[in-house]
Each structure stands twice: as structure tokens, then as C-alpha cells.
């Protein structure tokens, strides 16, 4: 079946521009996560949704970052007034049941953001 999809796959932005990154989770998956992966590093947690509720946004690096999932399926990560340090791969992941012991997160291909 279809996995997690993200768009665009690549985005080049001029410093100061706003960008919006989209994530389509696996159908029926309750949980949705956003991560930021810098070059050569492991992903770092940004924010988490359970259905439409944003339960944790402690990883968002600044108030320029905003995420939403208004209908509990598709999610958008928005970055306002982009800075060069925002350049990274933004990964989206989803999982089916939050409390299931063997639960794993399925990752999308990521959006590679380059801020010039």
C-alpha cells in the first residue's frame, strides 16, 4: 500500500521567504510526527499530532515554525521568514496506534530545504 508521502521533495528558498511543507501520512494512521535532519546527523523531533490535536511542539526551534493537521490526516509544516540555519531535510512519520507496544513509525522521503 501507499506509504508516507511528502511534497515538495526539494525546495530552494531565499532567506526571509515563507515555506510550507506537506505530509500525507499512511491512511488511518492516528499519530503524525515531524523531524528535522541536518546533514550527517540523526533526525531531531519537532512536533507530534494525535489525530488533529498537536500534543507536543516542544521541538520546534522557534516561533517561526508552525505545524497543523486540521482534519487529522494531511499535515503542513510552515516556516516563516526562513533563515540559512533552517536548511535541512524535514521528515514526516506516521504510526497507527499510539499505545501499541510493537508500534513503529513509518517515515516519508523527506523534503530537502535549502535556504540561500
Amino acid at each position: 500500500g501507499a506509504g508516507v508521502s511528502q511534497s515538495p521533495r526539494y525546495k530552494v528558498a531565499k532567506r526571509g521567504q515563507d515555506v510550507a511543507l506537506r505530509c500525507d501520512p499512511i491512511s488511518g494512521h492516528v499519530s503524525l510526527f515531524w523531524y528535522q535532519q541536518a546533514l550527517g546527523q540523526g533526525p531531531e523531533f519537532l512536533t507530534y499530532f494525535q489525530n488533529e490535536a498537536q500534543l507536543d511542539k516542544s521541538g520546534l526551534p522557534s516561533d517561526r515554525f508552525f505545524a497543523e493537521r486540521p482534519e487529522g490526516s494531511v499535515s503542513t509544516l510552515k516556516i516563516q521568514r526562513t533563515q540559512q540555519e533552517d536548511s535541512a531535510v524535514y521528515l514526516c512519520a506516521s504510526s497507527l496506534k499510539p499505545s501499541e507496544a510493537q508500534e513503529t513509525q513509518y517515515f516519508g522521503p523527506g523534503t530537502r530545504l535549502l535556504v540561500l
Partner: protein, 117 residues
């Protein structure tokens, strides 16, 4: 603060050899994961380990978990070139805020593995 450390960070080995990647984490965790990432690609789930002494195997890869030592290992047996990739371990803590589910994974920096013919 939950911290995850992997070692080695870089590993070059020959086909046919065995090797082990280590993952230490700083506080009690509920689940430990191993992921594989190929260059320019996303993360592929390999194993989920839940309990002390858990061992899982898939092909030439075997993962184990020692919760008392807060240590997981990923063992590679008779390595082949196709296993060249970056391997990440990650841990999470089930959170009542998250309905008993995971509240985001904490990843190690990854082990960049190159297997030479």
C-alpha cells in the same frame, strides 16, 4: 534529558566480516528502534525492541537489548556490500500526554557503515 549515543560513528569493513554497532541511552526508555537510511533516502524500520533480553534477527542483522545496562547492539554477520548504509538507533518514552503512545523518538547520530568488496 534523554540522550542516545552510538559508536562507532564511522565504520569501514570488508565483506564476510562480523561487526557490532553499539547504542547507549541515558534514561529508562520504553522502546528501542533500529532504522536504516540509504544516501538521499528516508528511514527504513529494521527492529523494535521492547523488553530486557529481547533479541531479533533479520537476515544478517541481529539486534539485542539490555535495559539494565541501557544498551542495544546491532550485530552484522558475514557482511555484504548491500548492507552499506547509515544505521540509527532511537528510543522513546510512552507518555500519558500522548495517550500512552510515543511522544517522538530521540535518535543517535548514526553509524555510517561502508562494506568493501
Amino acid at each position: 534529558e534523554l540522550k542516545v549515543e552510538q559508536n562507532p560513528l564511522f565504520l569501514s569493513m570488508q565483506e564476510g566480516k562480523n561487526y557490532t554497532i553499539y547504542c547507549n541511552y541515558s534514561t529508562t526508555s520504553d522502546r528501542l528502534y533500529w532504522y536504516r537510511q540509504d544516501p538521499g533516502k528516508s528511514l527504513e524500520s529494521l527492529f523494535v525492541l521492547l523488553s530486557n533480553g529481547a533479541v531479533k534477527q533479520e537476515g544478517r542483522l541481529m539486534a539485542s537489548l539490555d535495559t539494565k545496562a541501557r544498551l542495544s547492539t546491532l550485530h552484522i554477520t558475514a557482511a555484504v556490500h548491500d548492507l552499506s548504509a547509515t544505521y540509527f538507533c532511537a528510543v522513546d518514552i510512552l507518555s500519558p500526554v500522548a495517550g500512552g503512545g510515543a511522544d517522538g523518538l530521540t535518535f543517535g547520530k548514526g553509524t555510517h557503515l561502508i562494506i568493501q568488496p
